[in-house]
Subunit: 672 residues, 2 copies
């Protein structure tokens, strides 16, 4: 419908090619480091290609579809992937290929909660017979299940959950009820329209006595007609900021009856006569909740920030604005120190959190091996670390995506940039799987407990909290000193708040009041604790990684930048604790600017090394060829509002006034 | 379609009523203070009621509509308002009633750029005859105009704009051309579908010579058919983060011819023989640009944050989560110090920026009176102040809205909360009407210039930059000391960066490099400068306002909280400058917590005093009655995805697998 508008040569593509020529390191090698080896890179590319080449998985750009189209498309694709693509190519959950799925999946896909929550929960909570019955059905999408825990009125505070499962001895059934509007299940993904079963967390009641939260499998829709079953009110909760393709749902249950066997009874059981039998500790449940939290940051936050960096840095290399040198040519915005100061620290965050996260995954794997042997002594530590890490990473990466988005000026608001989509994808990670503030407080509770112990009684990675403060030797900007600086700060912070808590409670203030009044500082101490972990883990990685010298140098620079940027944006914390002096801070600021300047020529290369395909980003600003303006125009043409040259519906309302205008203007003309 | 789910009594409504009983001040009086007097409150309510009662302006909730429906509805409403509602009620631009329009307008409305940019620009750039011709047409919507300045490839850097207007002596016409894809006009509101004219900013060329940017009126669509005219490619740019109802457009012009009279020629003219005549200074143009920037923060940022506070605080008063006291009842989240620490400082920001903004409007009015007399000596100061104020307020309020949104947990992601809409409305204010980073640098340039002068040569409000640092007497937390603290910090910050700039340039570094290398600190100094203005203005207001004692105390507490919260979140800046000690900081932190506790019982009352109607917020969480859960459920029922009990399109893709599941499960059953 629109005339073709095209330049003979795109200046922008020429500019980005120059950037690539100027990069001072082998990009492919950095990709291998990122992936964890050359073989992993190849495997990832194979899987990504398999998905991207599949014609069934093609669809129009997300930013041109309505929510309803996005939902339908995502459901169709996911059904195809899980039932055809994956089994037909012999890719099984747990296989090495599976590790790369998050990079290969279409940008929007459904049934994810079915895969990552419903199925694992059956495994965690179900007896062997229950797993044998339900698991194959679920894996084959013969049943589609939601994980129905959160209610309209309660999320983080599990004990507040109101849905009830009352045992009816006569019929050997549980009767599920939501006693109030606020007890309705609310938010679970896949639940509104696609699921026909739900794993319902409900308060078990036998003979009028409450036994707390248990997991029940409840069928909610008919398997032939897909109609909601009697007593079930289920539907989509409506539009959200993020995850628009998913049918997050509501589920109100009134006297819905399920057989006794549908209580998942690995840990506890209800006998036919109503006897309640506890078989295993609930603490084991935490082990599986930690699992999700440990694996979440990479695909849901770190990769998202890496994409945002790719978009913003490529765009900043081709977007020109103003003259740095009055006599010279217009320069790329990436040549401005302020733009570097916005974007390059985000790159550092991607690397820091990625490698620190891998450290946690390793710790968690060791924990799981111990747990299999019945040893859960590390549970408290891994919980405290993974909780604060999830909170810190989701916060840092969300903030980073927003910095990248705003650094793209006006075009960063356009859905065609892909950046609003990334922001809406990442920001919910601050709230789901544990609200960040709640998680920080849980970590702080552990830290305050540790602060009252002897070093010998603490895990090695925590002992520094109660050991003497270390001195920094030499420049503040060395990696070793950064570690010391953050460790000292974390220790002083935790000790400070612990002392305050003790003083207040010694004065006779009730513990819950002490805790509430100290909570701002408690959160700060949890943040500083996890920061010292991230810095330490990143430094270890950088020190140990085997790679060529130019790559090593880039990683060291990013590591140093990460620490210094945090110090410079939170200098008050370090100064108040007396860990750093004003002079240190000045040096940290100056060094940061120098590092930005040094990393600048490699910036495009570093984001190239993330190796995101164009179709995995759907971004007109971030495509590999840098041809941003033609892409924006091509995308705009697809706007549903452009279907006709005149939008008839809106024109209808304006037409009478415009015709008046025509008459007046023609009158003026004829008079002339 | 859905069963009715309703409680006999909403606990939430009872809770919010209790909050209101506990408020310790007369809410209506605070509303009057906010509005600027009892009469203004009444007038505002009258206008709001006029709009809200009008049946033509009713429509379904925004979160249940597609973008296309939103666009059509907004256009219909705006046409009705400007052509019927306003003239029929004798409400004229410039009238006292008009001041309250931003509170009365439907949440989404179109033709705004036509009203606030196209029309004012005709007045600013047009000769008397031109104004006489175009203004009545525009006011009556006989023509609808876009303000076409920004291009695909250029925004902030005006000299980079590429569209050309070449004078053709033979035909006495200008020939408008976009030489490249990147020269296409891009972003202007109303331009894509509704406008039939555009005020095009283009580079004037006469006989091959360039004369820089000028404003031309270009007709782009036919007045009878609304079809794009020959040579014009125009349409909607697609979906955005925010302002989805508006048809921000693209406009590509190829050999579009307009009569010579269509150059707006108040300041400069092209004679029939091609002679170029300059009639007035371009500096006058800045005066009118400042106008928009001075008036923007209130309706586009401060009121938006006030709404977000209303929603988050009302919700936090009825949302219950966990036990503060292990033996006690579940408490409202607003009882947690951490929740107060998130939300109540945002309330303080609303008040601080509102009253500081009114100070700038007054300064600007005085400036306009002087300008009318030919005196523009205050232009530099008002520009520097309004630029950094717009940047700082848009940043603070955007951050505040996001804090409010996240403080609402999961429901803050739901569009039904109204919060994602507010975030998408406010965040663009960081970029439009001057990108914030660019604005801060403009302010900094002025400040550095001032720092090299004598106090006597500077405007009174700037002289402190070069005067001796003042001592604080007594407690850091007094309002007087807060002013001193921020003034000292601003002065030291500006002096510090000025010294650095001088040193570097004395060493022979080129000025543009000096500027680039200092830019991080330059931005910091502009931020601190505008903060001292805001604090000073808020303290003045609080000191001078006539009101009852309880209101005075609330305003004083909010003022103190605003200053202390900023100090506590930016303590590094104050410590590095030596303005505050670590001891001061500890005191500031403790005092902040005390103020939160003190303000807590009045929080719901304070947001009630903003007096937003339920329909002006479209928020299930923020409605006056506190009945959040029933409202969320009622809204969810309206989700377009719930039209049928089974979503046929998605079910189609899943059905084969589900039928397999039915057969397997029935097989299991029959075996049992």
């Amino acid at each position: 419908m629109f005339s073709t508008v095209k330049d003979d040569m795109s200046i922008e593509s020429t500019l980005i090619s120059k950037e690539r020529k100027n990069a001072k390191f082998p990009v492919e090698e950095l990709t291998n480091v990122w992936d964890g080896g050359k073989e992993e890179t190849e495997l990832r590319r194979k899987i990504v290609k398999l998905f991207e080449d599949d014609p069934v998985l093609k669809s129009p750009p997300i930013c041109t579809m309505t929510r309803e189209e996005r939902f339908t498309k995502a459901t169709r694709k996911s059904a195809y992937i899980y039932r055809n693509l994956i089994p037909n190519n012999g890719l099984h959950p747990g296989s090495r290929e599976f590790e790369h799925f998050s990079r290969a999946m279409p940008i929007e896909n459904n049934l994810l909660v079915h895969m990552i929550a419903f199925i694992p929960c059956i495994k965690s909570f179900g007896s062997q017979e229950q797993v044998a019955k339900w698991l194959p059905l679920a894996l084959n999408l013969n049943i589609i299940g939601a994980y129905a825990q959160t209610e309209l009125g309660h999320g983080s505070f599990l004990r507040g959950i109101e849905t009830e499962a009352t045992f009816d001895k006569k019929t050997q059934e549980f009767v599920i009820n939501c006693p109030k509007v606020s007890s309705m299940k609310w938010w679970p993904g896949d639940m509104g329209l696609n699921a026909n079963h739900a794993l319902v967390m409900a308060n078990l009641i036998i003979d009028g006595k409450e036994y707390g939260m248990h997991a029940f499998i409840v069928q909610i829709r008919d398997l032939s007609t897909h109609m909601p079953l009697p007593g079930v009110t289920v539907g989509d909760i409506g539009s959200k900021m993020g995850f628009e393709a998913i049918d997050n749902g509501f589920l109100y249950m009134k006297n819905v009856r399920i057989p006794r066997e549908n209580l998942l009874n690995k840990n506890s059981e209800v006998k036919p006569d109503g006897t309640y039998v506890k078989k295993a500790s609930d603490r084991l449940m935490y082990g599986s909740m930690v699992n999700l939290r440990v694996n979440l940051p990479k695909s849901q936050a770190i990769d998202v920030l890496a994409k945002a960096c790719t978009i913003a840095i490529r765009y900043s290399a081709v977007r020109r604005q103003g003259l740095l040198n009055p006599g010279g040519a217009e320069v790329a915005v990436l040549d401005y120190t302020l733009q570097q100061h916005k974007l390059i620290p985000q790159l550092a965050t991607v690397y820091a959190t990625k490698f620190a996260g891998e450290g946690i995954i390793k710790k968690h794997q060791a924990f799981l091996q111990n747990m299999a042997k019945g040893n859960i002594s590390d549970l408290a530590e891994i919980h405290a670390l993974s909780a604060s890490f999830k909170a810190s990473v989701s916060e840092q990466c969300t903030e980073g995506v927003e910095v990248c988005r705003r650094a793209c000026g006006g075009h960063g608001y356009s859905q065609a940039s892909g950046l609003p989509f990334l922001l809406c994808k990442i920001t919910p990670s601050c709230t789901y799987e544990g609200e960040n503030t709640v998680l920080y407080l849980q970590t702080a509770r552990y830290l305050v407990k540790c602060a009252s112990k002897q070093a010998a009684d603490l895990p090695e990675s925590i002992a520094f909290l109660v050991q003497p403060i270390q001195d920094m030797k030499g420049s503040i900007t060395s990696l070793d000193n950064l570690i010391i600086c953050f460790k000292n700060s974390a220790a002083l912070c935790v000790q400070g708040v612990s002392k305050k808590v003790n003083e207040m409670s010694n004065k006779g203030l009730a513990m819950h009041e002490v805790w509430n009044k100290s909570s701002v500082q408690l959160v700060k101490s949890a943040k500083m604790y996890v920061m010292q972990y991230i810095i330490g883990a990143f430094v270890s990685f950088v020190t140990e990684v085997k790679c060529s010298e130019p790559i090593k140098e880039i990683l060291q620079d990013l590591c140093c930048l990460y620490g210094l940027h945090y110090i410079n944006t939170h200098s008050g914390e370090f100064l108040k604790l007396g860990v750093l002096s004003a002079h240190h801070c000045t040096l940290a600021e100056e060094t940061e600017i120098q590092l930005l300047e040094k990393l600048r020529p490699n910036a495009v290369g570093i984001v190239d090394a993330f190796d995101f395909t164009d179709s995995s980003m759907e971004s007109c600003l971030g495509a590999y060829d840098g041809n941003v303006y033609e892409r924006l125009f091509d995308m705009a043409k697809l706007s549903p509002l452009n279907k006709e040259k005149v939008h008839q519906e809106s024109y209808r309302h304006l037409r009478p006034f415009l015709l008046e205008g025509r008459d007046i203007l023609e009158g003026v003309k004829s008079k002339n």
